[in-house]
Amino acid sequence: MALDNNPALDTHEFRLVGTRPNRPDGIDKVTGRARYGADISAPGMLTGMVLRSRHAHARIKSIDISAAEAIPGVHAVITRKDFTHVPEDGDIADILDNCMAGEKALYDGHAVAAVAASSSATAQEALKAIIVDYEVLPNVTDVDTAIREGAPILHAGRSDGTVPEGASRNIMSRVEFGHGDVEAGLAKADRVVERSFKTEATHQGYIEPHACLAQMGQDGQADLWCCTQGHYMVRNTCAALLGMDQGQLRVTASEIGGGFGGKTTVFLEPLALVLSRKSSRPVKMVMSRAEVLRATGPTASSSMDVRIGMTKDGRITGAHAELRYQGGAYPGSPVQLGAMAGFAPYDLENVKTVGWDIVTNRPKQAAYRAPGAPMAAFGVESVIDELARGFGLDPIEVRLKNAAREGTRSSYGPTYPAIGLEATLQAAKDHPHWSAPLGKNQGRGVACGFWFNFGGDTCVSLNITPDGTATVTEGNPDIGGSRAAMSMMAAEELGIPYEKVRTVITDTGSLGQNEVTDGSRVTFAVGLATIKAARAAKKEMCKRVAKIWGIDEDAVEWREGAVHPAGPNAGLHPPMTLAEIAAVASNTGGPIAGHHEVTAEGAGVSFATHMVDSEVDADTGAVKIVRYTVFQDAGKAVHPDYVEGQLQGGAVQGIGWALNEEYIYGEDGILQNPGFLDYRVPVASDLPMIDTVILEIPNPGHPYGVRGVGETSIVPPLAAVANSVSAAANVRLTDIPMSPPKVLAKIRETV
């Protein structure tokens, strides 16, 4: 049989890929019919609520739950003691301690007990009746203060072997990347700029709070419905926390109102399971916005020193960065990814990055869109900008001169295959935005960004129905339009209309392991598996037709949605369409399906260049973004609307992070702004239209050339906005967010 089953890159004209059909979840979402985490209910269910620490750091001496348990309508009260299984794995043990505090409450909002009651009023009453005896300890929330001598220590003895003797015990680990001789390189520079930078922690800001419904019987079988980026992860993590077999826990993901990385771990789910086990009733839990901000995972805050040397014609001779990230009360800040990503856009002979993972009395960080990279890019791209401007050089030319390309040894080790950085820079240079005149008090900034992208475990099943339509069954919650993309790719392969394919996200009982929806992996990896599942189904259909025609499988071929005789020797059979083959499947061997299981490799690294104009009110420090253009390589844009949405969304989250979003802690370690009033995500009227330019440098690792696009777009904005504001205000901004009081103070100190 002639079938292109092991593809070289498919460069043919696409029929559907690259078009903009309606999204399959659109009507449900605009009519309110879509079911999110809090929309799931079960007969007899209880309301679960969490008691959270109001201390940033405190030893829990005792918890008295007897009064709460005695309240009529209270069915279960749990504390850490109810988690009888002790996980061996260190990461799982940290997740458990984060979900329910053990010896110490480590941050404002840390869960210390939970209740399940017949109503939310009763649950609230029960929370008030729980008596926790705390020994309050000194706290630290700032990354630099945490590693000073005398700082409160969160955990003794958790530092790993990479941390030098005598360093602060709040340092969990140290990483280093690079090559060449940085000092020798810097010595060749005409100018070396060294700057220190700080960025504050930001939250992913998804609109939908965490929510779940758990039902666990005495027989050990359990079902869980929740809002998550990865229900297989939820299953595996909860099973490990509770000491269950993974197969006994079936998890179903709800529709999801945003995640951006923040829903790649568990918070409520294990509590709901234990409450259900203890009460023998289904238990539903929904976080308030304050709980989301206090107790889920924002990203890290950072402190950085960046040193770069450049010749006067713009060549970087040496580059060094020291990154200190705090990721909350447990090890695992994304400093390693930041250390790998900061210099990744450049072809450097001498480069070194050192990263330090630091703990503080803040909530355990969770992934946030390109975790760790935006901060590192802020430091690196700010110093490159300062050097370029200092020499009077065009900042895009300087970046082009130093740009990584095919064959470049990256700053973190690997040598690049074909990549798109130069293409984004060239597109930026040629764009009318770059030459447009600036208004009064305005400045223009550019910055580049890199992200790794990821593949991972993926399992897809594609079933042909008797009436000749197709269902793609996959296991990754759709956070960015993946159902539309899968349906498009399956329809493209099968030669049937987009409307004839429905993609469903199934529960954990129905497919093999699927990695979380993260790493910009889904359109790449699930798309690859979908295409291969469709090809497997096509192969099966060729076999069925060969059987009907009584000829060899090799003598038929798949073309334009039908099986044809491969050549004149195969006989004069009229082609059979997919629908015709499906209609007679019962007579040719039974149901027709294709499936594909893979640990996807070859995700293809991604680059972007952002350009932004801002206007600064020198009397108030207020910054207005007046124009913004994103240039990014998508490999192949399957559904350009969604790609543009990803590029715009990343830019907007980056603008919020750059200008006004921040975690504000008091001296007492209490979060001052756990709500969307004072945690300032940009509103629509704060923003101009975010223009996008999609470049398509095909990824050889995917049959259609697809690269992930979801994360790279948040990497350049902190730096691009800072470069723009610095130009407009005529003073270098190094502290993010660049909120009006900070910008005004900086302007006033220089006049």
């Binding site: 420090g621 006004n660 004072d678 940009p682 509103v683 009006p740 009081p741 005004l744």
Partner: protein
Amino acid sequence: MQYQAPTTVESAVSALTAAEGDCHILAGGTDLLVRMRSGMVSPAAILDIKKIAGLRNIAREDGGWRIGAAVSCAEMGEHDGLGSDWPGVVEAANLIGSVQIQGRCTIAGNLCNASPAADSVPALVAAGATARIAGPNGTRETAVQNICTGPGATSLGKGEFITSILLPAKKPNSGDAYLRFIPRTEMDIAVVGCGIFLTLDNEGVCASARVSLGAVAPTVLLVEEAAQALVGTTVDETALGALAAACSSAARPINDKRGTIEFRTHVSGVLAQRAAKIAKKRAGGSS
């Protein structure tokens, strides 16, 4: 929790006087419901004043405007005569919250919530507005700046509530303006607010002025020195410089999550200058 919706001022006063425990007035509810939801208050009783005759009206009175305590800020924005006489007050009322909030919230509620950062209050104070208060001893009138006594605290006694706000007759060659600073473009709380009302004489010289500042002290400030910086001038650059200095020196702000002392002090002067220019233009002055 008890809910009552009386139809007369007298029955409202009786209910309020008789109430045992915490009885809260409900007009738009945009502060009350938020407080209840967050657990800050759990009222024993709620008294809805929207059914009381006249409380949802905007009416002419002695050349000025009487605004019922249950008139929404959006209704003020849609009223023709009110906005042309007192554009600063109407704009301030329509900066509160979001469009949805403005459809419910009221200036009397904004006043009684007693936040130092309330948007409509500096504009009302600058305009010289008065509040009519009903209570067990009848009705009394007082200047708006006498209502708030500190963050969350008012001078209203047991059984008293505001039934209306009166904006006085607008004098010839006068104009008002309100500006606030927020980090965003909408849906935010003032970091600094400034209201200015001024009157020009026939030569374009400022005959009288009222300048108020919000969010820079426990209550809205009426800054006499700032007014004096304008009176007798043509509101030129020199006068504006003196105005800014007077406002910055009158400001007594705190450091908090929304701004620093340094920032609020400086921006008090900046906003005062900008508001004065708008008020002058509205008074018919040359720019």
